[in-house]
Symmetry: C2
Subunit: 155 residues, 2 copies
């Protein structure tokens, strides 16, 4: 766990509302603040909208870390990673959650509510939040993720 309470933003589509609330409750128990960016009901929504909102919340400093959830975790992880200040790792077990922090300084963790259960998701998130970036040789690579060449082209 980080030494001090942090703010964690969470976003999901309709497939992952229940898992999101499990993780919000757990984060609260750990003393962290949460920023719930929706969705909040069973109505069908588009995961890119929620992934983009989450990336913005990270980029503008409203949250230190993010949790991105959809049925598989794939679609919303693609959306989050469109933003050059977001580094989103889609994981299904804790070792990947640890490596995402140690090597990639990931600031968002993506998981699939239809593929892993709530206890595994909580364990991945706990590992993610408890792990520090190693820096060193990894820092230059992470810096390159901030400057994708595609952003230099006309939109």
């Amino acid at each position: 766990m980080p030494d001090q309470p942090i703010t964690v933003a969470l976003a999901c589509d309709h497939a992952a509302v229940e898992l999101k609330h499990v993780l919000i409750a757990w984060l609260g128990e750990q003393g962290h603040a949460t920023l719930d960016l929706g969705t909040d009901g069973p109505a069908s929504v588009d995961y890119p909208d929620f992934g983009y909102a989450l990336a913005e919340a990270i980029a503008d400093g409203r949250a230190r870390f993010g949790v991105a959830l959809c049925g598989s975790g794939i679609g919303i992880s693609i959306a989050v990673n469109r933003h050059p200040q977001a580094r989103c790792a889609r994981v299904s077990e804790p070792l990947s959650a640890r490596l995402a922090r140690e090597h990639n300084d990931a600031n968002v963790i993506a998981m699939g509510a239809r593929l892993i259960g709530p206890d595994m998701a909580r364990e991945c998130l706990a590992t993610f939040l408890a792990t520090e970036f190693l820096g060193g040789r990894h820092a230059g690579r992470v810096a390159k993720l901030d400057k994708p060449p595609v952003l230099k082209e006309p939109a």
Copy 2:
């Protein structure tokens, strides 16, 4: 498998050279053409460089699909997804590979050479290539991945 042979581009960092060559050999056995974008030796390289090159190869039509490999698959998947025409799914088992195609029309599969073995990687790739996008309600969401709001901002 797709009805016709396709071109699959592959890119990796130094942690995944051996796995890349396993997959290149298998793709050749299946009758597919491959485009090897490196790296090709043990010298330490930066995964973003190879992820960006792979995304470009997909975007400009040199390859229909891509395979992105690094130690965990996380770093290179983030890099690939910086490009709005790339949709990269980091997977470790075949169900995710199938869902990535069915729901997200993913065109790149990312895997971690230090986390899964060559037989699992080959099975994931085979499933990925054998699965068609479902379209329908998924098509509008995929279209939104092509138009991330961040690209409308100054680079």
